[in-house]
Symmetry: C2
Subunit: 199 residues, 2 copies
DNA sequence: TGATAAACGGAGGGTGCCTCCGTATATTTC
DNA sequence: GAAATATACGGAGGCACCCTCCGTTTATCA
């Protein structure tokens, strides 16, 4: 089962790896722009490969959605790790949320497209949301340990609040509103009111 | 413009009215079951009319979505009115939210399908959300007036909290979780802790 | 430098989207 | 009650997308 133990089989072909990469990049762009109605044939065209190639790499619509989503989550987790060195935990939390809002914004349609098909992907979402959770709780815990953030809010609640606030019907200025509300929320989390200067 | 003043033109044909009604009913069922991927031809088939008839009544995909959605909102508003006679305002609020969760649950896919197309419908959503708002604030105000609910939460905030809590990735037991969280929220709204018995 | 496993591309059959227009019928008029 | 006509109806047709299947191409291995 383990890839490392499969010495007997050939190693993956270079064009296969390259095309998979191109497809993921193209899908990210197409989904961002087109939302749920995005056509898989458009993705293949943008990637410069045949439609058959797309379907070999990602047998179902769900598979390619998930692959792109997983990549987004990776970036959010990485950003959280990078922000772990920030001097001010509340500020780090704000920055992480701001960046994540941008991702949620561009990927909103994708997530919307995903939910109806999620019957078989419960475990996939359990996994990714666990990773998101540990990213968010890393930032939160550090702030609590430093005595800079309240200790009566769990990472789970923080995530729910984050997603809930992001879930606002879009109108002009949408993202600004969300960012402001999130800042207010984090200000409320802070034990020290001085964080309010930023925004 | 007013229908009543149009005495000069013929009155609408009976079959037209009947078919429109059938289409709306069929659309409600198909969208509930199938989500955003639901086919308009399936709606026409279910309604027992030709596809052309569907498109004459609802020229765009958006139009039929909106008509169904408007009907749902009507029911939520009516329910709020009916609940206005409940003795316990907090209980009325809980009941309204429970029923609304059920609607959000079945219509989730529909709403998801709507958001990407919402460019031209900003004013439509402004209208319906205004009506939802007055329904919710009716229930809220009555509780505040009776001294049974806190007065520092606006209807707008209540609605945002309601929608935010509803926005949870679905997993088994999903709706139960939402109902419980909503109850907790309303309990928190109550000035008198005794309401906690229900649920 | 072959041999060949693996990947590639795109034709093709099916479905849905939406338009258009010839046909059918409900309403009105006489 | 019958003719006139405004109105609505149905579905064919052209286009895009979905997904499968398989003949062709090519990267790897010996």
């Amino acid at each position: 089962m383990d890839v490392e133990t499969q010495k007997t089989s050939r190693r993956p072909r270079a064009d296969s790896i390259r095309n998979r990469e191109r497809l993921l990049e193209a899908a990210r762009e197409v989904f961002s722009a087109g939302g749920p109605g995005a056509s898989l044939e458009a993705v293949a065209r943008k990637a410069g490969v045949g439609i058959g190639t797309l379907y070999r790499h990602f047998p179902t619509r769900e598979a390619i959605f998930q692959a792109v989503y997983r990549r987004e989550v990776d970036e959010m987790v990485e950003l959280a790790d990078r922000l772990a060195t920030e001097p001010d935990p509340a500020d780090a939390l704000k920055r992480w949320m701001h960046a994540s809002v941008r991702m949620v914004a561009t990927k909103r349609g994708m997530l919307a497209a995903l939910s109806p098909v999620m019957d078989g992907s419960t475990e996939f979402f359990a996994d990714t949301s666990k990773r998101l959770m540990s990213a968010i709780s890393g930032l939160l815990d550090r702030g609590v340990a430093a005595g800079r953030l309240r200790d009566d809010i769990t990472a789970d609640e923080l995530m729910r609040a984050f997603l809930g606030i992001c879930y606002i019907p879009e109108k002009p200025g949408w993202q600004d509103t969300v960012v402001r509300l999130l800042d207010v929320f984090v200000d409320g989390l802070a034990t020290d009111r001085d964080v309010r200067k930023s925004g």
